[in-house]
Symmetry: C2
Subunit: 340 residues, 2 copies
């Protein structure tokens, strides 16, 4: 068992900097596309054998130091009772977004062992196969709320902010129901075998710090506090964290995920000595030549080394157009350059 | 002549905090929609009498402390020789994006007094009518380059970053041609009567600090250095500035525009005592009730007061759905709460 990743999460001494890659199981990889060719995306997420198969691919092919459950952040939202489909042009679409109390009332808090049992089964298969730690994950309450309220992706998140500002009671009730869902979902993942969980707050970066503190962070704190007794490290990743790190680091998470739009040295300074950091190479750097890419990797490693612990990652998910050989080069280079 | 805005740009004592609003002439205002009902967007930009008319509307209706030329950041790009149209669903579209040396070679550096003479004429009309200062503007070189290379808006700016990383010589030549265009364009605006210019870097926030410093900032510095002799204050606004302020403040601009995704107090600390700041209320705050809105305004004013000079503004453009009465309330409240 390679536990370098878990040691870095806890800030313990490691022989080299561990690395995994957000969306490491995905369309950039021909082996993934081969599996995906036969099934649609949601079926892939919900079929344990297939979800496990694609989760394992990057471990075998790239040699990353952690696997992550293959799934989608909207899977538990669908289980709350919202009809979900994926459109080629628009991405995820909820045909009936939550805008009223009546719509909210119809939402349930799913029991993970029932409505989401395929997730636990996937995790069990993975734990039997893996020689590296398995990361479970969920969307953060705010990010899930934006999809539920907007009905999909958004530019200005106006419906979400309108509910926050104009109908605070409904917003709070909705966030509490999502928080309960996320907590139970992550707890079930841990109890099924996930050795770490990451909470993805893809959209919290559209909030200013005061609003983040009032409307997003308290719910993340509730989730994390409820999971502390489970004994696994928690990673909290906010895309667009540059202006929010002072607040983010109070979340209770042991590891703070950092996107690429802030200098890693500044992020490490802001996070301080009590938390490990994860990040933060621009996913587009994987389109550089290997000489330029190596320089960028070295820069992130050098700055990350000042943190309590450092897990190398991209600052956001790997892009579908990315050349696999550069991802492989990245993983090898992180190991080579960081070996003590 | 109300010169409060210009005084604040220069960091001189003012009786109250001046305020204007990005996109203050726009679709949220019925008087604008009435003009726009008869003409398409590009015709409106290019017809001096009409462009001047809508530029004046927010000054008359809201009582803002500055007017801004009504135009679009892509107007000079079209004059470089790129066919531009606006699509209802996709926004601006260039049918032939710049991806090759041959395409680049066909671009010209337009002579503002010839190809863009309508801009100078609009400015001259405005200066005759206005009792507040007139702001001219341009997109920053990087932001204009993204539209030219991507062919419109983008999610990951992959074509732009690919050119940066894989074809550095072409990227540099393109940026230099855009820089020459922006410099001549802004100089012409100032010589026609603009009393301040703002450089909008809408997309530079997708670059990490190292890339911003290498691929965007040098060209902005060149523009600003070339304009310093013109004797008007320059505002440099980067959307997504939170991780970039250390670099941004070296641009040479007298005023640093700040979006809402960073605490204004932190932004003022980072900018330091040598530059004025502009910003930074979340445009969505205009959907709050007036009590909540007043509280947010007060918070921005209090933090902005620590800067060399503070110009109140939103952290990005006002949204089309915004209630006009709240924008009017905002302007009055900024004046009332800040009056010394």
């Amino acid at each position: 068992m390679n536990d370098t990743f878990l040691k870095a999460c806890r800030g313990e001494a490691v022989d080299y900097t561990p690395v995994w890659i957000m969306r490491q199981a995905g369309r950039y990889m021909p082996e993934y596309r081969a599996v995906r060719g036969d099934v649609d995306f949601l079926t892939l997420c919900k079929t344990p054998e297939l979800a496990a198969k694609v989760s394992l691919q990057p471990v075998d092919i790239l040699g990353v130091d952690a696997a992550i459950l293959f799934s989608d952040i909207l899977i538990p939202v669908e289980a709350m009772g919202m009809g979900l489909h994926f459109s080629e042009s628009k991405g995820p679409v909820f045909s009936e977004p939550i805008r009223s109390r009546a719509q909210f009332e119809k939402l349930i808090v799913p029991v993970p062992e029932d409505e989401l049992s395929f997730v636990g089964e996937t995790i069990k298969i993975l734990r039997r196969e893996l020689k590296v730690p398995l990361i479970g994950f969920s969307g953060a309450p705010f990010t899930l709320a934006t999809y539920m309220i907007e009905g999909g992706g958004s530019k200005n998140f106006l419906y979400t902010k309108k509910m926050m500002y104009q109908n605070g009671a409904l917003y709070k009730h909705l966030m509490e129901k999502i928080t309960d869902t996320v907590t139970a979902y992550l707890r079930a993942q841990i109890r099924a075998g996930a050795q770490c969980v990451q909470i993805f707050d893809t959209w919290a970066g559209v909030l200013g710090p005061e609003d983040f503190k009032a409307y997003a962070l308290p719910y993340v704190k509730t989730v994390i506090a409820a999971l502390q007794g489970e004994g696994v490290p928690i990673i909290y990743f906010v895309n667009g964290c540059a202006g929010l790190l002072k607040e983010i680091k109070t979340s209770g998470a042991q590891v703070i995920g950092v996107d690429w739009k802030i200098d890693m040295a500044e992020a490490v300074r802001k996070v301080g000595k009590d938390y490990s950091v994860q990040g933060n190479l621009d996913p587009c750097a994987l389109f550089m030549g290997q000489k330029g890419l190596a320089k960028k990797i070295q820069s992130v490693l050098k700055k990350g080394a000042k943190a309590k612990g450092h897990i190398f990652n991209l600052g956001h998910g790997v892009l579908p157009e990315t050349p696999v050989e550069n991802v492989k080069f990245l993983v090898d280079k992180v190991h080579e350059l960081s070996r003590r």
